[in-house]
Amino acid sequence: MALKKISKGVHAGFKEFGESINKIVNALLLSITYFVGVGSASAIAKLQKRKLLDLKTSKSKETYYQELMLSKKSKKDYYRQF
């Protein structure tokens, strides 16, 4: 009984340890991806003066609506996730 309890405890401990390692590795890999991938894309966008989000207010505009005209597309368009 005691052995079973110890074994369960050890298993739970290892699981927690594994999860922590997983989190750390994930964070590390994602940070690298972020600085290399997102960072370089951001640098290119800044060099090209591209604004990917509309963050500047421009009150002089007559309207803030954008033309959308979204209607029925061909059936194959709906199989796509984009």
Binding site: S42, L52, T57, Q66, L68, Y78, Y79, R80, Q81
Partner: protein, 586 residues
């Protein structure tokens, strides 16, 4: 033809089943997993839908998803690129979920449901628009969808005619009325994507005069609203486009203080901020709807998206705009978009004639008397049985009149966030202390929040200043109307501080037992109105099964539970009493 509609991976996962154009089942995943606003893949909801229609997954012709995941991911990447390097923590937190599930929707659907057929993806705001228009009673209608954000769109104006929908114009992320409401909700110390309705309920305590409410003027610095209702934010007041939180320090300075802590006292300042937010929302919505009318020249309007749950504003639409008729689906938020995806596929993509009008929210699981009895017997629960419906109505109306709090579990569960008379807690609105009693015994909610009244449709105009004829969304508790002055003191528990009530109307034939119960209560009290509040433990979803209902009664102070034709008295079953408040987490 059988079509499954699915929404998930953001909040309020849900599934629905459309069989030859008829909506045969629709339910949120949270009701099965018991996690409020559960966003996980709705495998239980799908299972239920199939069971209800007596189908297997092999009988499904098509599954429709409520958004285009890659477009949403594109928006997310753009946010990170634009906000580099400030968005690192959000990137680390959000990307694993995208890699593991959100970008693998087809694989997950095939794996979890063992499904081999077609999967269609409908743009998020198109799914919202379809969820309202295609199941509405209108052949032609103007359409307004307003929510937090879909792929890019946050607000869309469109028009529907027959099977077709055209979304004409939109406003795109990061500018979003829904996110503004959520930001102020967060600022006021309430949970985002959950407690926006609390802020709406708080607003009448504040100064609702735009000329004298200083926070209205301050919020107008945050949002610029044009005459056509289009709007844009000064994004320096927000951080939601690169952080997990929402208001910026600049917004806190503008609103004269830091973010309120959840348990801190609500002051007049907080109430005025809530009022200012409601005023700003109403101003933008009215201008938008007026513009939409000028674009479409159609008398009917349908709304969808989370903002369409703002019942305070919904009740003003027909009075403040040229529209003559309004329709909103009870589950106007993301869960309801599953219906939109399914109907867009059925009616628009596959070009089947519209043959369904949404007229009943009772689309969830039900339990027979035999199943309920079996549950009660198996668990040694003491109960009494009613002979027939007449006895159910008479006995329970009397119990409510005697100020007992009653759990009402009858028939198929409601679709959407509101309890509409099959999973409800009912009590006496004429008792001046009932709000306090309900809060003490069951709901434990903030004192500023009133309870909702339910009234038979044919009595509603006697007690409430409703639009005439009473719009159908009132059946789904989506419209707030003033309580007539002479009745306000007679039904204090359901009259808000501004004299309004978020009423539910019940039409004859819609839910007979419920309808008759309200009428019978009226014979005792002279006022055929009941308090109707959701049947749940604080922080949990509305009950679904007999077990959930019994557990809820025994964990709270509900006096009686009527399930099918069985009446259970809490006091008769002391062995099962527990304290739900010890575990409650709102």
């Amino acid at each position: 033809m059988n079509i499954l509609g699915i929404s998930c991976f953001y909040h309020d996962a849900a599934a629905c089943l459309v069989k030859d154009g008829m909506l045969v089942a629709a339910v949120e995943e949270e009701r099965f997993t018991r996690k409020k606003h559960d966003s996980s893949f709705p495998v239980n909801a799908v299972r239920y839908c199939l069971k209800e229609a007596n189908l297997s997954i092999k009988d499904i012709d098509c599954i429709c998803f409520y958004e285009k995941p890659f477009l949403k991911f594109e928006r997310l990447l753009y946010q990170h690129i634009q906000m580099f390097p400030y968005s690192l923590p959000t990137f680390i937190r959000s990307v694993p979920a995208w890699i593991n599930e959100k970008l693998r929707v087809p694989k997950i659907i095939r794996k979890k449901l063992r499904y081999q057929g077609n999967i269609l993806f409908v743009d998020h705001h198109m799914a919202h628009a379809a969820s309202s228009f295609l199941v509405s009673p209108f052949e032609e209608a103007a359409i307004l969808t307003v929510d937090g954000v879909g792929e890019w769109t946050t607000t869309a104006l469109g028009v529907g005619k027959g099977n077709d929908i055209v979304l004409l114009k939109d406003i795109r992320f990061p500018h979003s009325l829904g996110l503004l409401y959520s930001t102020i909700t967060a600022y006021l110390g309430f949970s985002v994507n959950n407690s926006e309705y609390k802020v709406m309920g708080l607003s009448p305590y504040g100064n609702m005069n735009p000329k004298t409410n200083k926070y209205y003027t301050k919020l107008k610095e945050v949002i610029d609203i044009k005459e056509d209702g289009s709007y844009q934010f000064d994004m320096s007041y927000f951080v939601y486009h690169y952080k997990a939180s929402m208001p910026s320090k600049k917004l806190c300075r503008l609103l004269d203080g830091p973010i309120r802590k959840a348990e801190a006292e609500l002051t007049q300042r907080h109430q005025d901020i809530a009022a200012a937010l409601q005023l700003v929302l109403e101003e933008a919505m009215t201008k938008m709807l007026n513009h939409l009318y000028s674009l479409t020249k159609v008398d009917n309007v349908v709304l969808a998206g989370g903002v369409a749950l703002n019942s305070v504003y919904n009740g003003k639409i027909l009075r403040n705009t040229p529209f003559k008729n309004i329709w909103i689906q009870p589950n106007a938020t993301d869960g309801g978009a599953s219906i939109g995806a399914a109907y867009y596929a059925y009616n628009t993509i596959l070009d089947n004639k519209r043959n369904f009008v949404f007229d009943s929210p009772y689309l969830g699981p039900s339990y027979s008397d035999a199943e309920i009895k079996s549950y009660l017997d198996k668990n040694n629960i003491k109960y009494t049985a009613f002979k027939n419906d007449k006895e159910i109505v008479e006995k329970n109306a009397k119990l409510i009149y005697e100020n007992n709090v009653l759990g009402w579990f009858q028939g198929r569960m409601e679709w959407g966030p509101r309890a509409l008379g099959t999973r409800s807690i009912l009590s006496n609105p004429c008792n001046t202390k009932m709000q306090e009693i309900l809060n003490q015994k069951v709901k434990h909610r903030e004192k500023f929040r009133p309870f909702a009244p339910v009234v038979c449709e044919d009595d509603a105009l006697e007690y409430f200043d409703c639009d005439k004829p009473i719009p159908e969304p009132t059946d789904y508790m989506l419209m707030v109307y003033p309580v007539k002055k002479q009745w306000q003191k007679k039904i204090p528990a359901v009259t808000h501080v501004d004299g309004s009530g978020r009423l539910q109307t019940v039409r004859k034939g819609q839910n007979n037992l419920y309808y008759n119960l309200i009428k019978e209560f009226g014979k005792h009290s002279g006022v055929p109105i009941l308090i109707n509040t959701s049947f749940n433990i604080r922080g949990e979803p509305i009950v679904c099964t007999p077990h959930d209902a019994y557990k809820c009664m025994m964990g709270t102070g509900i006096d009686y539970l009527v399930m099918g034709r069985y009446l259970i008295k809490r006091e008769d079953n002391p062995q099962h009493i527990w304290d739900s408040e010890r575990f409650a987490n709102d």
